[in-house]
Symmetry: C2
Subunit: 190 residues, 2 copies
């Protein structure tokens, strides 16, 4: 089996992981089965069992693949614009709530999914924090700011509303969260 990018092995992985997300979106984590993923992907189920083993391995690999997919960091010229672009992207992702909900819910039931989710967000936060690093280089923010904490503070209210308090999110909420994080960074408290 080829393992080079774009080879048959990679195409199988793409199809299977896309099917994993589609099944999650339609039926949620509790109903996720290897058989349904294999059927949807058009791959024999023994292939899926041999390569992934379980639904938790499928979910973890899907998160790993998303984590490793290049993601376009905003570069608007100001940290305010960049942070708003990031929080707005998060808010818009919640327009298709099924997948993020299924993934966050899965982490409550599966330590493997929880670990993959932690790795996913660690990578994304580190990437997103580059907008803060660049802002420090431009002199927009104090040098001792914690770049990851600025990103965390900007994004947290969106997730908190969607997954905990179950309040709506929209672009106005995203902008306010970004500006709140920025105000805290400028004040030197994060």
């Amino acid at each position: 089996m080829s393992t080079r990018p774009g080879g048959r092995s990679a195409r199988v992985r793409d199809a299977v992981l896309a099917a994993t997300y589609a099944e999650l979106a339609e039926h949620g984590y509790p109903a996720l089965t290897v058989d349904a993923v294999a059927t949807r992907a058009g791959v024999h189920k023994t292939t899926v069992y041999r390569r992934w083993g379980s639904v938790d391995d499928l979910l973890a690999d899907a998160l790993d693949q998303t984590r490793d997919t290049p993601w376009a960091l905003p570069d608007t010229g100001t940290v305010e614009g960049d942070l708003i672009a990031i929080t707005t992207e998060v808010a818009e992702a919640f327009g298709h709530l099924a997948v993020p909900t299924a993934v966050v819910a899965a982490a409550f039931q599966s330590p493997r999914a929880a670990g993959a989710l932690r790795d996913f967000y660690a990578a994304r936060q580190t990437q997103a924090a580059l907008v803060v690093v660049r802002a420090v280089e431009r002199g927009e923010l104090p040098a001792d700011v914690d770049p990851v904490d600025v990103v965390r503070t900007a994004c947290a209210p969106l997730y908190y509303r969607v997954f905990v308090t179950r309040e709506p999110v929209d672009v106005a909420v995203a902008e306010r969260a970004a500006r709140a994080a920025l105000a805290a960074a400028r004040a030197g408290v994060i």
Copy 2:
């Protein structure tokens, strides 16, 4: 059946709802059953079925009871102290992660639990926002601040870490989150 506070009916409710939380903490939402709750509470299961009907009704009533239980609002004399007291209380609640985790997880699977969770946080946020209202009255914060949004911004990073990015929380994290919300409030952005 008496419905006055402290009567037999209230004692049955207290026992059943305490058993609901205990079962949730030990076994999680997916394993919650009316029978196990009844056994733990020492109440006949037909009593529980007749009064609550389902595990979702038990969970929702438990959240409603917690929501309606008087909660000691901090009053340290400054909004910084009050917000830190609130976020520290949230961080400490995560020391016993089983119950909050089970409740937040249940909301992913049960619209009834999701509704009860939303009502619970709406009530708690409104209560907690009084520390911001008092700060405005004392002249510590601008009059056009959104009190609930200050509380939301202060608490969100804790929940985000615990339930989404799966990062640890401690008192230092709680203090930083409170100060970040305060800086945003002082800057007039929330």
